[in-house]
């Protein structure tokens, strides 16, 4: 079985798929990739199923080595990437030769990057999913020295690319009212939509703290709210008035009131807000949210048609050759 050997990896990198459903009643939230659009993009680029597991890399990638020939795709937050020291294009699929080294550096936009492989990563199936759920202690973060097994690859396409989706710089995020929104008075809800928030650098798979200047956001009736079901995208406000956007790996229930919920179509965009980046929330109606959801799903199903062959600029090709010559020389040096 082919595998990808991990020589170096950024902290917090995990294998992720669409998550596990059906276990909320047992306290296990769905989890899965923070940016599900990226999973669909990777699937389109490799002409395979979007449910296969990919490597989610927060902020930075790592150094990997292929044990056999394999196909890869890179999606989500763009990172500086090279195969055997030759730069490769993000949001595209590539061939990785046996023994080739793939190096993925820090993000240049957005927050979380994804490495997909033809056939998907073959992590053990736990509760019907392969994704790690660190908060539930299901699976674990990928670490240096790991050998990531890869499933059988039925495809052969490489060298496809997708246009960069404009979801990687934060900005306007649409929210709808949820069952606790009315615990905030109308003025507070209006002020919430007029406030510029910054993503706190400590964000993780459970959620992100939303920093802002000025007064906090306080519910009427304070904190005497019964623990209730949390859905991904809920914006919960803690006792000091600070909002937290709850993400894929949140708890299943929570006792802090929630002012609103990010619509599913904007969740990937919210998750990709870079550290310190700006988020502004806009209230929309249910009908507007449904229209956005429909448009989002049409976009996802059009991805495979949007893939185009990577076009190489002759000038760039010369450049690539130079890189390869250098890498050849480097590889000959004993370590």
């Amino acid at each position: 079985m082919s595998a990808l050997i991990v020589h170096r990896i950024a902290p917090g990198a995990t294998l992720q798929d669409m998550g596990r459903t059906g276990f909320i009643a047992f306290g296990v939230s769905r989890g899965g990739a923070l940016d599900r659009t990226a999973l669909s993009e990777g699937a389109a680029l490799l002409r395979q199923d979007a449910g296969l597991a990919a490597l989610e890399m927060p902020g930075m990638g790592g150094m990997f080595e292929a044990t056999e020939y394999m196909r890869i795709a890179l999606t989500g937050a763009p990172m500086r990437a090279q195969i055997d020291n030759a730069p490769i294009v993000w949001n595209a699929s590539h061939a990785l030769a046996k023994g080739a080294r793939l190096e993925i550096g820090p993000v240049t936009a957005g927050s979380v990057g994804y490495l997909h492989v033809g056939g998907g990563f073959d992590a053990p199936l736990l509760l019907n999913a392969r994704s790690a759920h660190l908060a539930a202690q299901v699976g674990c973060a990928v670490s240096a020295g790991d050998r990531l097994e890869i499933g059988a690859d039925a495809g052969s396409d490489t060298g496809l690319s997708l246009p960069t989706d404009p979801r990687l710089s934060g900005g306007a995020i649409r929210v709808i009212e949820s069952f606790q929104s009315h615990t905030y008075d109308a003025d507070t809800r209006t002020r919430f939509a007029e406030t510029e928030f910054h993503r706190d650098a400590r964000a993780n798979r459970m959620g992100m703290r939303l920093n802002s200047d000025g007064e906090g956001f306080f519910a009427q009736g304070g904190l005497n709210i019964l623990s209730e079901t949390i859905v991904p995208g809920d914006i919960q406000v803690t006792g000091d008035g600070t909002p937290f956007l709850l993400m894929a790996e949140s708890q299943t229930t929570g006792g802090y009131p929630r002012i609103g919920t990010v619509i599913p179509a904007d969740l990937a965009k919210a998750a990709q807000t870079p550290a310190g980046g700006v988020l502004r929330f806009a209230w929309v109606t249910r009908d507007e949210a449904l229209a956005a959801e429909e448009k989002h799903r049409v976009y996802l199903s059009s991805l495979s048609k949007l893939c185009t062959p990577l076009v190489r600029d002759p000038a760039e090709i010369r450049d690539l050759l130079t890189y390869q010559l250098i890498s050849g020389a480097t590889d000959g040096t004993p370590e």
Partner: protein, 244 residues
């Protein structure tokens, strides 16, 4: 007699509805939530992808592009009108589980403090908690983690103002007449009064969750040596019998 609260159906995000049977935790509201969730599961309503009870509510997840909010709400309203949910029987297949527990000492350092908050001597507190037969009201927050209640009224004590940085898996904590048994190590505002050896969640097992809503539990006092000898038993020495 039915509760005065009229069940409410409200949106939970774009793809969810929440059916609530109360705005505070009562025994009838909890019973209603458990029974209604089971009934929704049996009803096979088109479009429902997941249905999960919490303390006094039932969360229903669906695809709103497949079935509209209005259609689903009407279907849920239909089930609601079937019976008086506040008087519903407990779920079937319930069990009575006795869990060996070390109270106080270094393994559960907040026992004395909790007893004092409840206005009880340590001896009275031990008798009160360890003789209580509490019910799993919901599983939530973390995998397989039960909320159990209700304890006698003395135990209506608030959460601490400061969080305990972490209690270990198997920790028994108390506040607001409820007990929570921790499935994984987590910070908490509840007071750590007991320690058990129960593993509540084993993701690689066919039956990964130790407890189910409706189960009745008694936390039986043992000394630290007994708990130590139970290491390696994922059930932590628990005695399990079926309730009819």
């Amino acid at each position: 007699m039915s509760d005065a609260f009229t069940p409410l159906i409200r949106p939970a995000g774009l793809c969810g509805l929440l059916v609530s049977f109360g705005d505070s935790l009562t025994e009838p509201a909890n019973r209603a939530a458990l029974a209604f969730a089971a009934a929704v599961g049996r009803a096979g309503i088109d479009g429902i992808e997941e249905c999960a009870p919490s303390l006094v509510s039932v969360f229903v997840r669906f695809d709103p592009l497949h079935v509209s909010h209005e259609t689903l709400e009407a279907a849920l309203q239909n089930v609601l009108s079937d019976q008086d949910w506040f008087a519903a029987p407990m779920p079937s297949g319930r069990r009575f589980i006795q869990v060996p527990t070390v109270y106080g000492g270094t393994l559960a350092p907040q026992f004395d403090e909790a007893a004092e908050a409840a206005g009880l001597t340590p001896e009275e507190a031990l008798a009160s908690v360890s003789e209580a037969r509490v019910r799993v009201q919901t599983i939530g927050f973390a995998p397989g983690q039960p909320y159990l209640g209700l304890l006698p009224p003395d135990w209506d004590i608030p959460r601490q103002t400061n969080l305990t940085k972490a209690v270990p898996a198997g920790a028994l904590v108390v506040a607001i007449r409820q007990l929570v048994l921790f499935s994984v190590s987590n910070p908490t505002g509840w007071r750590h009064i007991g320690q058990t050896g129960v593993t509540l969640f084993q993701p690689d097992k066919d039956d990964p969750f130790f407890l189910r809503p409706g189960d009745e539990v008694q936390f039986v006092p043992v000394d630290a040596g007994v708990l130590d000898r139970l290491k390696g038993d994922p059930d932590g020495g628990a005695k399990i019998e079926a309730l009819t």
